[in-house]
Amino acid sequence: MEMKEKEIEIILPQEGEVLDIELEEDFLKRNQLLAQENRKRLDSFGITCIDIMGSIGSGKTTLLASLIPLLKDKYSLGILAGDLTTTLDAERLTREGVEVLQINTGKECHLDALLVKKALSKLPLMKLDLIFIENVGNLICPAEFPLGSHKRVVVISVTEGPWMVLKHPFIFQGTDLLVINKIDLAEPMGVDPEVLLLQAKKINPSLAGIKTDLKKGKGVKEIIKALGLSHA
């Protein structure tokens, strides 16, 4: 609060020699506008797009790998896999027999609407009706960068300890579905998934929550239902 705006005082040469230019330009808006463009583009092709965010190692790719076999006969699927440097996720998901495109952000910690726009132009949109975007593993930055998806999912897991919801409130604000993974490890970790869910619901009461053990495929069908999709 220390930066209260004072009347601008500049030592000026002469009156009239200064050019005052009103710009009124919002630099965060750019991403939002691009996100809106992406959304329009997806809508024009009748494609539903779901952004999967979550912490590192929480199970984002595992979630996709378990969703694909159940969805691929019903929907024409496309996947955008975001990662810093590797194509590990894309390789893993390509084996499931769907259209996968890797986006490498280099050193950026999140996907932004421009990267997604570029990626969308490389996917055969005419042929697709459902796209999943796997965001970079991070609970902080993706919150500030909407991509134009119709739904946002956050995947967390009990192995990240009991505080990750309280510590990262922003990501849950704009989220539709929270997946709490690795519940088979809840007891040894001493973490109560129900408490995590309650904490997230306090931040965003409209959030749906599903507890999963994705390694064993537990909870996948519930996720499909919560996303408004249906499986074969």
């Binding site: 500049i10 020699e17 230019i21 902080i140 604000q173």
Partner: protein, 121 residues
């Protein structure tokens, strides 16, 4: 969090507008709900302006407190964090209306605005 990336866009825009004229000042407004630290934005702008006509520009940054509107009862006003002493990234700003408890629409506080710049003719 993304101060360098954002400061680069701002610096590019300012220098493009200045067209080699000396930049006297720039006026930014940064919302408290963004992940931008005004101190860091200032630091990066200084670095980026080094050796350019904006090198000596005054960088004014105004913090914009969160402001919301309730679509249910029509309440409009500042959104107060529950503990004001907490720094902004520690509190979870209530997104609900203090009057009726419905969801609030955030009108300001999530922006990073370059209001205006002053140039020497």
């Amino acid at each position: 969090m993304h101060e360098f990336f954002l400061s680069s866009s701002i610096a590019r825009r300012v220098l493009q507008e200045a067209k080699k004229r000396k930049v006297l000042s720039l006026h930014l407004e940064i919302g408290e709900l963004t992940f931008l630290n005004p101190e860091q934005v200032k630091f990066w702008l200084r670095e980026l302006f080094r050796g350019t006509p904006a090198e000596k520009a005054k960088i004014k940054i105004k913090k914009i407190p969160p402001f919301g509107k309730c679509s249910s009862c029509g309440y409009r006003g500042e959104i107060k964090p529950p503990l004001e002493s907490f720094s902004f990234h520690l509190f979870s700003p209530p997104l609900f209306c203090p009057k009726c408890g419905a969801r609030l629409k955030i009108e300001r506080g999530k922006d990073c605005l370059l209001r205006r710049i002053q140039l020497l003719k």
